[in-house]
Amino acid sequence: MRLKKLEIKGFKSFANATVLNFNENVVGVVGPNGSGKSNIVDAIRWVLGEQKGKELRLDNKSDVIFNGASTKKPAGVAQVSITFSNTKNLLPTEYNEVKLSRYLYRNGDSEYHLNGVKCRLKDIHNLLIDTGIGSNSYAIIALGMVEDILKDKDHARRKMFEQVS
């Protein structure tokens, strides 16, 4: 299973439609403080089904929607899509390419799509459950996760063992 593409629009500081292609094995993301690098990491977690505001640095769920800047009005919806190629059939589906999309509207409505078809958050969780990239997985390693291991907050260590069993 390989990452192919990430599309972001209206999500945090990414007001404008933005595409990242992942053709290489090791991709570096660089830029000045506050430019949006960690927001890209948040976007990947979010589209994979992350619900914990704390993990996404949010006080409220709607904080993911672009909230305006001096020369641009706030967005009405946050949208992120992530596309995988289903090599090794890691994903339990007959598709070769899998595209997950997530939308959050200002009025609080949420939508989830799998290859263009509306689905529930539950379906996304079930799809990812055996891949090791559920939004809580050890594979998304912000500096904070290193700290969870060191402090063993909420049995972080034991939970990781359970994840790889």
Binding site: L20, S35, S137, L143, V146
Partner: protein, 164 residues
Amino acid sequence: AKELFLTTFYKVRENFIRVFRSLFGENDSCDLILLDEENPLESGIDIIARPKGKRPLSLSQLSGGEMTLTATALLFAFYLQKPAPFCIFDEVDAPLDDANVLKFNNIIQEFSKDSQFVIVTHNKTTMAEVDVLYGVYMQDMGVSGVSPVDFRNMKHDPILSNIN
């Protein structure tokens, strides 16, 4: 479930010792300890790390960089047990000195045969080690944009003279 947990535990422990030694030194010792072997599913888990002949009595006596490297060794130990299709690191290399940044990147290069890695970094050594660089910048006030960049051009690019 208890059997499965125990088997997994000991495999991850093997991996941890191996990765720890490649990040620290071949003669350095470390261990993972299941505090309650009778009750593994409820048990706490201790990490022992003794880099380079030192005898720290607990993890908290290690330096900032040694702690990060030890936790990273454990994360890679989990990874080896059940490789994830991709891994994302956000400034994990910030507390590491140059020699350790290289070791960290070497391990990533090795695992990158099987998985993809996305590495957010401010570190020049890491930037030189990845396959491709995406530069993130502020287009207008408060609006982000992304554009591929060439490390060799980084000092001259008008966007990146902003980044660096």
